[in-house]
Symmetry: C2
Subunit: 410 residues, 2 copies
């Protein structure tokens, strides 16, 4: 029994393979690399009941993660986030079997912690001492904090428009933080130059192969939490799309292990905002790659990614599972966020709200059937975006009576 | 096997008892009521191994919680928060066995979710349809969101100075939210009047007996996570002190169940800020009750409570466990917050930072010995207080080179 059953890295485009012992970024052909495991051996050594006594974090799946020695694991207890029934919201959208995977209940308040935990741990194992990345905010926050825990220095560049709380997180971690008057693509170029010049370890989305391994644990958890009976549909807010690619990879690995007993995979849905919908556009046209989306805009900042480096993998996962891609109206996102809070008590992030909105729309179009089990990924806590929820509240003086009337009191 | 082994309510001051079926607030003598369980019967019916297969949330301890029917459980997956080793910070403060119980990894981002989950669930069971409370922010956020999930309406009053994010949370939940130009005590009087006038269910701190049952699960979890071997010291940031009272109650109940095999209870430490230290003052003088602290002030807003209604219970728990109460310097809190982030990657709340500072101080005074195992409660996520971490970050233009030099790169 090894701690990890990692075998090697491979390119999903040209199939070239790479040894697991060295540092690798993109394939020579320019595509992201994926991790392959010794699944035949693992199928013999590992079974679902082995998980029962393990801690409720993502390291319970360490055999299917790339870190080979437990001593390199850098953890803050991330993973095994709640999978919650949403009966009132489900009734409102005529989906009685609606569930939310709540990635707000995780260190740093966003699902980015999964990628950072596994990515930083593997970086430590590979001997990395300095990493760098461009970010729309949450990923930079997660990576810089996990890097601090691993005693790795980090250089982070984010747009000035990124959520200000993520700026505080990076700064507090001791990162070398810079803002850029521009987009994440501008930040990316600046990081690329610094990586060349200073020999930093580049952890831009999919430019290191291990972040996706962290993200895939969302898929492993959904399967385990549903007692290895897959849902019919999983909806995911899609910017870089690493989570969707990861969930698809996880489910394929579980199939290979024989843990899913011939079940069909869930239809995977990539959710985007109308102001930045390159994957939706590509999917509508049946393409296998997307085109850069000019002047992209959405308040769901985490999915403002005009061209994802893993677009071909996202589209492949959608086609293979008979899923779809859908764009939601910008104006309706905050209304849906409010509805989720009022009906279910969850303060979801705008990206999560967009995803509930997509479920609603797909139900209306009958693409999702009423009796289907549907999992919506809420990728972060609403409290990370304090400005999205505008509130006006009456201010009283001490001694005032509360202006309640009968209609307030049920 | 009952779902809950609740027996009745009792007053810890005058020992009067109350039936569990009716709604009760304070005892006739003015003291808070506590919940008693049929521990003799439960000791026969329940053992630690029964927990292994249960979900990682606080409802795994449902036998020791007051909700009698599972259908009334209102949950967002709260509990079983990480108990993390803090080796780098521990080395820095000469405490190699330092642990953090991280209550930031919970719905609403603060430990208040525990009290709200259990309190709202029990309110639902008792037929409540409208609740009301004064709050310093986080409790109101948690209660209004859980109430929304339970379809109970809520009326919340908080000081204008309370963290603005908690205002958004309440408003988003659909609560009747009011701000008051004053302190939580002013809010309390206004809520008291409305409770009388409109027959609302009063869930002010310790005015309903069930919040403490939710909070006590922190103690149950610490014991279970350490495999039923108690730590030497537990430090807790103390405002209303419900968590500390709850942890003490939990450990006594575990003793009664025979799960702790004659172990000594950990020394419980109440941590306050110099600007609001009524419990510290009372403890120094060996008193059993505290005196109202005039003009209280601290940036650790959650522990700005000038007179806790449960002060006698807090002091009792400290005396019985040979613990202590300690006040920390206001100016040092944010420095400690930064240190925790840089060394361990955790963005703790100011109350949590104050608690680490207290551990540091007690180690310096040798009140805590080097080889002792110490648990610090971080009661919430730092991201709920975006303004505490002031950051200055250079802004660059697209195409600029990052101004890194060799000293930046390890």
């Amino acid at each position: 029994m090894n701690y990890s059953y990692i075998s090697h890295l491979y390119c999903p485009k040209c199939l070239q393979t790479y040894a697991k012992e060295a540092i690798h970024h993109l394939c020579d052909c320019g595509a992201p690399l994926l991790v392959e495991y010794n699944l035949d051996q693992l199928a013999k050594d590992w079974k679902p009941t082995d998980l029962v006594q393990r801690k409720p974090d993502l390291w319970r799946y360490h055999e299917l993660l790339p870190v080979q020695s437990e001593e390199h694991v850098t953890t803050m207890g991330e993973g095994m986030t709640p999978l919650l029934p949403m009966p009132a919201l489900g009734e409102d959208m005529d989906l009685p079997h609606l569930l939310m995977k709540d990635e707000g209940i995780i260190p740093t308040g966003a699902f980015k912690a999964r990628g950072a935990a596994v990515g930083v741990s593997k970086a430590k194992e590979l001997g990395v001492t300095s990493l760098a990345m461009p970010t729309n905010g949450n990923a930079g926050a997660a990576w810089s904090l996990y890097a601090a825990r691993a005693n790795i220095s980090s250089t982070i560049v984010m747009p000035v428009d990124a959520p200000s709380i993520t700026r505080s997180e990076c700064a507090l971690s001791g990162a070398n933080l810079f803002l850029v008057n521009g987009l994440i693509s501008d930040a990316g170029k600046m990081v690329g130059e610094a990586v060349q010049k200073h020999g930093l370890y580049d952890v831009s989305t999919l430019k290191e192969p291990y972040r996706i391994e962290g993200k895939k644990t969302m898929g492993l958890e959904i399967a385990e939490q549903l007692n290895w009976q897959l849902p019919d549909v999983i909806l995911y807010p899609t910017g870089g799309g690493v989570g969707l690619i990861g969930i698809y990879k996880a489910l394929q690995e579980l199939q290979a292990l024989g843990w899913l007993e011939g079940q069909k995979l869930p239809r995977l849905v990539a959710v985007q905002a109308e102001g930045c919908a390159p994957i939706v556009e590509a999917w509508k046209q049946g393409k296998t790659e997307s085109i850069f989306w000019e002047n992209s805009r959405t308040q769901a900042f985490g999915i403002n990614v005009p061209k994802a480096i893993g677009d071909f993998l996202i589209l492949h996962a959608i086609y293979e599972t008979k899923g779809c891609a859908i764009a939601v109206e910008e104006e309706a996102i905050l209304e849906e966020q409010k509805r989720v809070a009022r009906l279910e008590g969850s303060f979801v992030c705008p990206e999560g709200a967009a995803t509930f909105l997509a479920a609603r729309k797909l139900r209306e179009e009958n693409w999702i059937k009423k009796d289907e089990q549907v999992v919506v990924l809420n990728t972060g806590a609403g409290i990370k975006y304090p400005d999205t929820a505008e509130v006006e509240v009456p201010v009283l003086e001490p001694g005032d009576s509360l202006p309640l009337d009968a209609s307030f009191v049920k």
